[in-house]
Amino acid sequence: MKKEKSIPGPVQKAGTRPTRMGTWSTAKPVLKGKCSFCLFCWIFCPEGAIIQDEANRRVRFDFEDCKGCGICVRECPTKAIEMVETEGNNQ
């Protein structure tokens, strides 16, 4: 549990999340084409699951937080991302 032991009840350090959305997902985004690093996906992702890989000028995905909604696929102007079905739980 990612929680300071001395704090009782549903309280988290600000900026952390109590639950990981990756346990919900039945599909995951995969970068198949050329990422232009425009970061539209990063802006639209509701879970903050897009990781900026500055060195390689491309995005990556945090599957602990990605709930598999596919918004990144829809927003990507270069159609570089595809959703791939999974068995569930991308973590």
């Binding site: 549990m1 009782p8 009840g9 988290q12 350090k13 600000a14 900026g15 952390t16 109590p18 639950t19």
Partner: protein, 392 residues
């Protein structure tokens, strides 16, 4: 001259509770008036208006808002107080669970009154019992003095970092709330030495930000709920510790989780909560004088339910007469069910006879208590459960 001297006054339990809130140096009071609680919040408003009490009184539009405002005050790191009865407590229901789950150490005084319908402003304990599973520590009191003393103790119990749960101090409508008795009001300095300022673990603080009252589901939700259960169980020990410390400082001891009155060698015990235990003491004395082996077990802490203490107190008797001023419709009185659960696993346990009475302000006179104890004396271990509405 006035330094460390308690004063004695003829006041109602409601006024005693208002005095307790003042002595507890409560910072925020948010409440909505309802019979028979009204005179508590009237008195507090008066203390604040005439400068005797330094607190913010929030006039809110409902009990739901009253409890929510108190929760907000707790988030901000100050001490808060509210009080209600009956329909008002029911209106708080959603927030009661919220406050307990959020681990906010509030203190609420509930003046126990029946719930509608049939409409009644008179006393029974249905309102408090219906909130049993919201996660509050519930303590039932017998006298105005005990109500005052328990409000002070309730803040210590609630705010203990091993507990951090809200406490509901219950007193009975009219029999306590509107009846004057000689009550010792402790002096402020002694109360201050017993009850230090609230030391919040987490508050709304921009320099040290936390997400407070966050959501969680699945394993995370279960984890927090399991912690809540552990803290509520742990509270049994804290209630005892605080009660002992209170007795050392103020000289009044109430027995902790339960009080056993003349239980030595008793064959039949009356198990009850609240003001009617006062009458029961006299009945027990009379019946003991007649040579009948009876005793009284007064349940003070209803949640956490003192399973171990009750098992020990009841196991040697052959029968327990449980008086419930409430009913879990379709089953029986709630205290009776809980007591039976506490006795589970004992070989050949005492019979449990459940009497439902004192509903809607009906008196529980000595004759009725004697009737229940006589029935219990006539019972034997292994008897089938008995349920009886004594007033119909």
């Amino acid at each position: 001259m006035t330094a460390r001297m308690p004063v004695k006054k003829y006041i109602t339990a409601n006024e005693a509770v208002a005095q307790a809130a003042k002595l507890a140096r409560v910072d925020v009071v948010a409440a909505y008036p309802i019979t028979p609680q009204t005179s508590i919040v009237e008195k507090i408003a008066q203390y604040i208006a005439n400068g005797e009490m330094d607190a913010d009184y929030l006039k809110v539009e409902s009990e739901h808002s009253a409890l929510t405002a108190c929760m907000g005050a707790r988030m901000a790191g100050v001490r808060a107080f509210t009080s209600t009865s009956s329909q008002g407590l029911e209106y708080m229901h959603e927030m009661l669970a919220y406050v307990a789950g959020g681990r906010y150490p509030l203190v609420l005084v509930n003046v126990c009154r029946s719930v509608a319908l049939p409409w009644s402003i008179w006393g029974d304990q249905q309102d408090a019992i219906q909130q049993r599973d919201t996660g509050w520590i519930q303590i039932f009191t017998e006298t105005g003095q005990e109500a005052l003393d328990m409000v002070l103790q309730a803040y210590r119990i609630a705010e203990d970092h091993r507990v951090l749960l809200p406490v509901m101090v219950c007193l009975d409508a009219f029999i306590q709330s509107h009846t004057e008795e000689l009550i010792e009001i402790p002096d402020q300095k002694t109360v201050d030495s017993f009850l230090p300022p609230y030391d919040a673990v987490v508050t709304l603080d921009v320099d040290n930000p936390y997400s407070i009252s966050v959501g969680g589901f699945g394993q995370q939700y279960a984890h927090w709920r399991a912690e809540q259960q552990e803290a509520t169980e742990k509270a049994q020990q804290i209630i005892l510790e605080v009660g002992d410390e209170f007795a050392r400082i103020f000289g009044r001891h109430y027995g902790g989780l339960i009080e056993q009155y003349r239980c030595d060698g008793a064959e039949a015990l009356l198990v009850a909560m609240g003001a009617c235990t006062g009458t029961a003491r006299d009945v027990v004395d009379e019946m003991r004088d007649e040579g009948k082996a009876v005793g009284l077990v007064k349940v003070r802490a209803y949640r956490p339910f003192p399973v171990a203490s009750l098992r020990k107190a009841i196991s040697l008797a052959k029968a327990a007469a449980v008086l419930d001023r409430d009913c879990s419709w379709g089953y029986e009185g709630a205290l009776a069910t809980d007591l039976k659960g506490a006795l589970y696993g004992l070989p050949n346990p005492p019979a449990v006879l459940n009497f439902i009475g004192g509903l809607g302000g009906a008196d529980v006179p000595p004759e009725r208590i004697k009737y229940m104890l006589e029935k219990a004396l006539a019972a034997k271990r292994g008897d089938t459960p008995h349920l009886e509405f004594i007033d119909r």
